[in-house]
Symmetry: C2
Subunit: 207 residues, 2 copies
């Protein structure tokens, strides 16, 4: 395939190189297609790769990877020209500066609402990311993980123990407001369960 | 441990039974502690289990599992009495009727913003849920999964192929607005990477 890369940093660079090595034709683009970094990237990607401006890349490719830093995304698309009919793979994430969270899309969580309804309670979000059938029987070929988050360290330690006792791997994900991530995770499980059936879970792979 | 269960449906019932069988002291509660379902649940849970009103359960337990359907949650906490100092494990999810999505917490996504900046483009959200180091080398003891979503079937088929070719398991998660779930998933990866290092990914376990 011919693939144009808009934004040639870590993600765009890595994917473009792997695709070029697999035999795809890659055009890397960025605001500075003549930069030293870009020359280095094209050299590493080999004979199947070249560099161009964003506008040229869009003109000559119907399949595009968008891998810009979030603050550069709107400008990159403004400079892209006509995108009608193009396949645009969006690999961006609307991250706040210093990876502090998501800039758009998430505003609060059920857990924060619950905490506001239970004054003084030490709320820990947990047991919300898989269906009850998985809580009943967590036996797979790998070990499924359950996440939790909360603001009280002792309360979290208790929950950690309760999760482990049931046969799950478990992972502290931070303060209670991380429920803004765990509840969408739950909704992902629910939507895949509706689509594919309920007998699945997620394992945390480490190396 | 002594654990009070607020909301004794699928999740509260399943966890309470497993904990009772493991030797914990369980009190199940709901709006109808004398119902036939509750009697059946207590019988199945065995000698370590009993049933009570929500208020009684809160009074006699410092560790509580909240597992109510979302629309019943505020009322349950209103009926709970003083929760100050209690550990409250929140297993609820703010699900819309018919599991159509999350009622609070998510409003839009970067992908929908990108689509608005790229008129006519066939946007597929993908390659956003792990770091570039995992895209470079997806080799673990299990096979990591990459998700995608979008509104154009042909474009999604192309992306599916590109993901598979790189050595990942892959999973269509539905229309583009499912990026409201995949971007928080990405942020979860980012926040765990900051905490624990970047050499991890998720596997989809099936049975």
């Amino acid at each position: 395939m011919k693939i144009g890369i808009i934004g040639s940093g870590n993600v765009g660079g890595t994917l473009g190189k792997r695709w070029a090595h697999n035999g795809h034709q890659i055009v890397f683009s960025s605001r500075h297609p003549q930069s030293e970094e870009m020359k280095k990237l094209v050299a590493e990607a080999g004979a199947n790769a070249s560099a161009a401006t964003i506008a040229e890349t869009v003109k000559t490719n119907d399949l595009l990877l968008l891998a810009t830093p979030w603050p550069a995304t709107q400008d990159a698309l403004k400079n892209a020209g006509n995108l009608a009919g193009k396949v645009l793979i969006d690999a961006t994430n609307p991250l706040l500066p210093r990876l502090a969270g998501l800039e758009i899309g998430t505003t609060t969580s059920g857990a924060e609402q619950v905490a506001s309804w239970a004054p003084g309670a030490r709320v820990v979000k947990a047991f919300n990311t898989v269906g009850f059938n998985i809580m009943e029987n967590p036996n797979f070929e790998g070990q499924p993980v359950l996440f939790y988050c909360g603001d009280d360290a002792d309360a979290k330690q208790t929950v950690h123990q309760l999760i482990s006792d049931l046969g799950f791997d478990t992972q502290d994900t931070g303060p209670l407001k991380q429920a803004r991530l765990l509840e969408p995770f739950a909704m992902l499980w629910v939507s895949l369960a509706i689509k594919n059936g309920r007998e699945f879970a997620f394992q945390l792979l480490k190396r």
